[in-house]
């Protein structure tokens, strides 16, 4: 563990808060919500209800109520699925990978990122269900013993998805919960009323004893070690849904790294989108500082450039590879019916992040916030372009078609955001969104000689 760390690397500004202050400040973010919170929550629930109604309507009448136009058999749903899985990734990256790399600055933001991961996966996980034609038989994708004596096809990338996403969900949830335990205990000893009951239960009898810490630190380390390859595998698997097929524009070896980079890219953007308002509302400026944002934006710049590079390579290979279908497909992307989607994606993901080269931009919270929003938009369109546009221009000229999403899809899409934010709001008001323990951890414990001196 990082024992004596210089203020420079802690990222928290001087004067360093004492342990007491930290507990107090962070515990203060919980407490009873304001009226604004309830209004926001009500709004989120309404949007969610809209999505649910749309889904029920779709289940009742069939997938036809969505805008699907063969040959485009996958549309907004799969796009959004990939989008949310992507969002999830930076969470694990920041909490696990940066943890392994001992980069101290993560402590202030990792809890938010991790919660985001869990909720994002929960959202993503809904979409494969929403998009299958017989939702009520979706459980057939699980290899359980059944009277038909049939099993599932493990050669299908969709099966890999089932395993990858559910594993990812389980592991990241465990990771979040384990990290929370000491914090909950800390709050428990401050809280009163029903909250105290809640925390007494959820802290699982944590007291911070020597032996508890002894096992805890190890377990946490190994969880991080497991989460790291997992996070890389999950989005690779998602990318293979496409790369394993023969659709021009999908069938590319570059997909796994390309998707992982994109995932982290979009994830970091989402972390920024979430932290900026959170920090304001919870008055966390003291813990989540401009410096954190700068680091995040550097990460965003890096992944953004990898993504941009992937775009270039895609088009280059399409041309250089000389495969007629590939070429046609990419030409259609840039100049076909969907040129607008493609260029939205290229501008938002390829060009806008270049502003991050300027320190000024990196250190300006509002600028970062706007930029992050654009990246989120761009990354959604990236998936849209890869999925829809490729499908609309495949091998059979006679069977090519044009797809436009229907109101049902838009409602369900917005519903998914509502679903995500519902969980996040609940979390933010009931559990510390900044890790008490880890923030303390990077501040050395007081020593006698200091006190005397």
């Amino acid at each position: 563990m990082a024992t004596s760390v210089s203020p420079e690397t802690t990222g928290t500004e001087l004067p360093q808060p004492t342990y007491g202050e930290i507990t107090r400040d962070i515990a203060a973010t919980l407490g009873n919500p304001s009226r604004g919170y309830y209004i926001l929550f009500a709004f989120v629930l309404t949007v969610l209800a809209g999505g649910v109604i749309a889904l029920l309507y779709q289940v009742r009448y069939g997938m036809g109520v969505a805008g699907y136009t063969p040959p485009v058999m996958w549309g907004v749903y799969i796009t959004t699925f990939v989008f949310w899985v992507g969002i999830a990734h930076s969470g694990t990256l920041i909490s696990a990978i940066l943890y392994l790399f001992r980069s101290a600055w993560r402590t202030a933001v990792y809890r938010t990122a991790e919660a985001m991961t869990v909720f994002a996966v929960m959202t993503a996980g809904l979409f494969p269900l929403i998009h299958v034609g017989r939702l009520w038989y979706a459980y057939w994708l699980i290899p359980y013993p059944n009277q038909r004596q049939l099993w599932v096809n493990f050669k299908s990338p969709l099966l890999w998805d089932v395993f990858a996403v559910s594993t990812y969900f389980t592991v990241s949830t465990l990771f979040l919960i384990v990290g929370l335990i000491p914090d909950i205990a800390a709050i428990r000893d401050k809280a009163t009323g029903w909250r105290k009951q809640l925390y007494r239960v959820t802290s699982l009898g944590w007291r911070g004893t020597d032996y508890q810490w002894r096992h805890f630190t190890r377990a946490y380390l190994y969880l991080a070690a497991l989460a790291t390859p997992l996070v890389l595998s999950v989005h690779s698997v998602v990318s293979w849904d496409f790369a394993m097929s023969i659709v021009p524009g999908w069938h590319a070896t570059i997909f796994a790294p390309y998707f992982v980079a994109g995932a982290i890219y979009s994830g970091v953007a989402m972390v920024i989108t979430l932290t900026v308002p959170l920090r304001k509302v919870f008055r966390m400026e003291r813990y989540v500082t401009v410096r954190h944002f700068e680091n995040l934006s550097k990460l965003m710049l890096l992944t953004g450039m990898i993504v941009g590079y992937a775009y270039v390579v895609e088009y280059f290979i399409a041309w250089y590879g000389g495969n007629a279908f590939e070429r046609a497909s990419f030409w259609n992307r840039a100049f076909g019916d969907y040129w607008w989607a493609t260029w939205t994606m290229i501008i938002c993901n390829g060009f806008l992040p270049m502003f991050l080269w300027f320190r000024k931009v990196r250190r300006s919270i509002p600028a970062l916030f706007v930029l992050a929003l654009f990246v989120n938009l761009g990354m959604w369109f990236e998936r849209f372009v890869i999925i829809v546009v490729s499908l609309s221009y495949e091998y059979e000229p006679y069977a090519m078609g044009h797809y436009t999403p229907s109101w049902v899809e838009w409602l369900i899409l917005s519903g998914s955001f509502a679903w995500f934010f519902m969980w996040f709001l609940l979390f933010a008001k009931n559990f510390p969104t900044v890790s008490i323990t880890e923030v303390k951890e990077i501040i050395p414990m007081p020593r006698r000689n200091e006190a005397s001196a």
């Binding site: 699907y68 058999m73 096809n153 659709v247």
Partner: protein, 1007 residues
Amino acid sequence: MTDEMNRRKFLKVLGVTGGGAATLAGCSTDQVEHLIPYLVPNEDQIPGIATYYASTCRECSAGCGVHLRVREGRAVKVEGNPDHPVNRGRLCGRAQASLQGTYNPDRVRQPLARNADGQFDKISWDDALGRVAQAVSSANPDNVWFVTGNEGGSFDRFVDEWLAALGSSHRVVFEPFAHEALRHAARQVFGVDAVPSYRFEDAEYVLSLGADFLETWISPVEQARGFAASHGFHEGMGRYVHVEPRMSMTAMSADEWIAPAPGTEGLLALAMAQVILADGLGRFPTDARRLENTLASYTPDAVAARTEVPAEKILRLAREFAAVPSVALPGGAGTQHPDAHLTAAASLLLNYVAGNVGTTVVFGADQNVAGGSTYTSLRTFQETAVASAPDVLFIHGANPGYATPAAGAAFAAAQQNASLTVSFSRFVDETTAAADLILPDHDPYEQWNDYTPRVGVRSLQQPVMQPVFDTRQTGDVLLEVARQVGGLLARRLAPAGDGATYKDYLQNQWRRVQRDLGDRRPFDEFWREALQRGGVWGESPRRTMRLAASAATLTAPGWSTPEGQFTLIAYPSMSLLDGRGANRPWLQELPDPVTKMTWGSWVEIHPETADGLGIAEGDEVEVTSPDGSIRAPAYLHPGLRPDVVAVPFGQGHTAFGQYATDRGANVYRVLSAQPTEFGGVSHYAAVTVQPTGAHERMAKTEGKRRQLGRGIAQAVTLAAIHEGEAHPFHMAPAAEPPEREEHILEEVAEMQREATEYGPYAYEQTRWGMAIDLSQCTGCSACVVACSAENNVPHVGADQIRHGREMHWIRIERYFEGGENGEPLEARVLPMMCQQCGHAPCEPVCPVYAAYHTPDGLNAQVYNRCVGTRYCSNNCPYKVRYYNWFDMSTPEDPRTFAWPDPMHWLLNPDVTVRSKGVMEKCTFCVQRIRGAQHQAKLEGRALTDGEVVTACQQTCPSNAIVFGNLTDPNSAVAQLAADERGYHVLDGLNTTPAVTYLQKVRNLVEP
């Protein structure tokens, strides 16, 4: 209530079955079904086993023989009668859909009478018959009129006799496409009122002057067979030149398409005749010399300007035409303009001077194209009716209230004048909607009748099942009326005997037939055999023709359109014909073979013209003639002269049931009511075309029109083949599979040997495959309907088609080639269905094994296992998997319900009805394969080649599809698959399809 009665009656013969459209629920076996056994044993009805009854298709005048497949007492499928001389077992799409007429939800279910406030009341048969009898007996016999369609058989004679017995002579036969011009021309040139049979199979050179002989003209199925024999690839295959301002489906199979100035096809023919005569090329009879003066003035140079066809081309055509046995066909819109009789006559002359009359143009075996109907006779009726109101007007088998200019306004007026209009129609069409009494007739498949498609062929109809509704055969109704009226009418019909039915009358007619044939056997024997065969036919008679005097008086045909206007060509719709098919959803949804449009009307405009008028595809345009105007979306058709616009007949019904009403525009509204010189309706009109500003997403099934050089539909020139250069285009050099794959196949084979009965995957035993010869496929789309009928494929409606969600398991892809910067326009067609790939990309991606490979090489789709991820469809390069976006099979969702009662009685009980959310696709008619395998096994033998016949193959009029076992080197399909013209679509993807296409062969002129 009466419906209920009918259902009972039906169930009584239904035998053991749940019946109806049970849908694909989960695996629950707990719905309570009732089993209703036969009351009395029915020796030719074993539950679960199909019986076939011979009958005759009455969808058009061609009169093809059919076999009806009957299961548990209900007809479930129409197939051609292999013995029948007209169609030899093949059928067109319209015939395949004919059962949708039988089971149409909009059929008149019992007699109806118009009440005071103009609505129809349900009445009993006694009441109905009483009313008619009463009206007839009180009517002035000479003021009773009877309008029928082309009945062409005993019923034709029966109506005449009935009228005669009554003392009336006012029989009007009305058939919209009556080919008056052809008959007029035959009178003028040979002095006979007849339409000859054209023997394509004997011709090596086919010249069509606008005749859509593969679509609607005279006898399409028979002609398609003959054409395939002449023009399908073989040593010395024929050449086919099509002359028409518009590229029709028929023209798409042409080696050369010539678009002359509208109305000048005949002129071209005259010029060719002139050349042949002048240069003495043909093997013409001596008396042809008499024409020299007549033809003298029509030298190629003289006509070149007016036809807009270069003189040397005409010269060339003439030489080619005379060089080999040839045939010139007048027809289509080309013989429906004011001078069309001259065009027809010119073509007869051309045939005559080329010595074709008697060889490829056979008089004697005259075609019954319209039962002698003429538009003028209908006009006469209309005028008389307006003058002296008819007391009773009977209408049977005709819809003049729709299919005449101004959408039947004149006839409607006449009908208004009649004090009582009695319609025997099965549907409330426009004419019937205005009738006072409706006495619904049986469906052709429910009644006793016969039909004579051409001299020498007598085709029988028999009831193949209980009537679906409380209808009665018109013959019986008329007899009953006669009885009730009594007196002269009853006595004169004595031959029918007292209490006799129309069936007795029919049998009396057939006693005569037997006598004429000099058949000595007892009648019952003769009758039973005739019923089994579907009719009687012998050698068709031939008559030698000599020129009539009037032949020399021939003048030049022509047509002119005022400056700034367009020539409108109204052409018969291949699927709806004159509109009688419009209430069959399968036909409405059948993409037009040229434009791929469904469920509506359209105006074909040449792209350049459209640019000029600022019209984009889908823009609604208004087509206005002096007689009226219609509105329809524009379709940009490259195969059209820029000065021509074309609109198909058949849509714009104001009645005729849920599928037909208020759909598209009735092009009759812009045609002139003035009869032409030959006594027909002109299908040409001078029109202006204006965009209305409205726009719609068109309900068509085509994506891109060009194949982007991907070698989907391939063609090769005959010359290339002769030089041994028929090398199909390959996406990538056909690569040997690496060893890796070899040993994989080994394992898999071993695996399968143990796993199953049907033989290993490595194709040592059965692998089902198909070969499709594009040199024979004409794009007629009969296979599409046949497939729908066999496999319970639902129709989805216009809105879904706009979303590209059509369900046809087999589709006809149409690609245009050339047509730019000078090179000639070519159209290619390709039937695309599941290619049953060996390395199917759709299979491995299915998470639940719903798509997998059967041991006998089928790419199976297990509906009840499918959860609907649609991944397989994304991964299918051929895009032949179709998804149930809605529930087509349950009434819960009226928007998409495809089988309203009693339509669901049409469902094939051997095939699962798919439900919402599952993927489906061509199965190679696996139910037929398994059926045949079961049969063979029961008989303890192996399957023989050709024993399994898929629905598409069975119906294909030009015999382009062959199905069988690819691993048996002697099977027909295996040999075709090895043909030098053979190729797999997108072979570079190494999907190893089981479907082999044989390149189209174009017999082009040697440069």
